[in-house]
Subunit: 216 residues, 2 copies
């Protein structure tokens, strides 16, 4: 019962799978910066969930008769570059990255998933993008820290801006090279669609920054 998946859907599965793999790796690494064992467990649990999503996506690709690693390969360089350019220097930068960075990536993937024709694939992607309490945890911890040390707010706002800048840089790179994925993302590619997409992504980013108590 293998689904026949078009090139754009395969691209979306590939970038999402490698995204989950690297996000899990990074969360596990950032868990080492945790100030308490409880915090370490919280971040470790997120890493565990992301890897679980990766395994599901990988299984889905195997069942569709494609090589998961080959499907991820076109996106390795962009995602690795993003993570190398945005290594958190402390626990709070790690939390911001998990919330703001992964949040923005999830917004893009969710938009693209809406145009995926295969229903089983669409459902799988949507469940892989479920938040699972990650946002609440990051927001709570960051707000507490800024309340205790207001100067932290300025530094973290700059850090969030840098994350977004790097993410856009890498996303543009991917968009230039992967036509099919770009078309999937903008739903056909008319100007109104692109404008609506960017305004939706920007809105959601502003909401996250506001939840953190940071200036967008």
């Amino acid at each position: 019962m293998t689904a026949s998946l078009d090139a754009a859907t395969l691209d979306l599965l590939g970038v999402l799978a490698y995204g989950e793999l690297t996000a899990s790796e990074r969360l596990a690494k950032d868990a080492q910066l945790a100030p308490t064992i409880e915090d370490k467990i919280a971040l470790g649990t997120m890493a565990h969930q992301e890897f679980g999503h990766f395994l599901q996506l990988r299984q889905h690709l195997l069942e569709a008769g494609v090589d998961p690693v080959e499907t991820m390969r076109p996106f390795i360089s962009a995602l690795d570059s993003f993570h190398e350019a945005t290594q958190p220097s402390d626990w709070y930068e790690g939390l911001i990255k998990a919330y703001v960075g992964d949040g923005m990536a999830a917004d893009f993937y969710r938009e693209a998933a809406e145009h995926v024709k295969d229903e089983q694939t669409r459902t799988l992607i949507q469940s892989a993008l479920a938040d699972a309490g990650k946002s609440d945890f990051a927001v709570q911890r960051v707000r507490e820290a800024i309340a205790a040390e207001p100067a932290l707010g300025g530094r973290l706002a700059l850090w969030a801006r840098r994350l977004v800048g790097e993410a856009i840089l890498q996303a543009q790179q991917v968009a230039v090279e992967r036509d099919a994925l770009l078309e999937l993302l903008v739903g056909g590619g008319d100007l109104a669609g692109i404008t609506r997409l960017f305004s939706s992504i920007t809105d959601q980013h502003s909401q996250r920054m506001q939840a953190l108590g940071l200036q967008a």
Copy 2:
């Protein structure tokens, strides 16, 4: 339906839970040393399984009405010291650590689990100690590497010896401080029991070294 657990069983659950938590963290970190994406996925999958075991042990402690972090706390220092003293400098040292180090730890835990009175707890511990293909993977990769570069064998044999030395050092520290756990481990504590235990652990270690093609 909370099981009432004695002090020794709680100690075993605590050291095992923190052991799984740190093992998972370390495997996720070592996955970054992987030479290929397939290897990264293999090690990441092991980290995922260990964290899953940790979550099960944590849930079991919560259901028994005890605080998982407090139960793990007496063992944090010993396990952290072990990992700090044995940071792999490359992919193969990481594999040896996953196989030889975790293997020896599992031997100890398995011995102690045999004397756990509560059946549900015993079964849970035994399932947490299941190998899940970790050994086969490490053995295969290490043997291939030594076949390609025989000098590696000598270095990895020394590394394995260092791992065992550090493990014994930390285990002694724990044994001195946790009487109940020690008694559980040696099944009452007569001399014959202790001799049998050490001979069994040594045998299993030699078998692993032989499987790797390394001198014990």
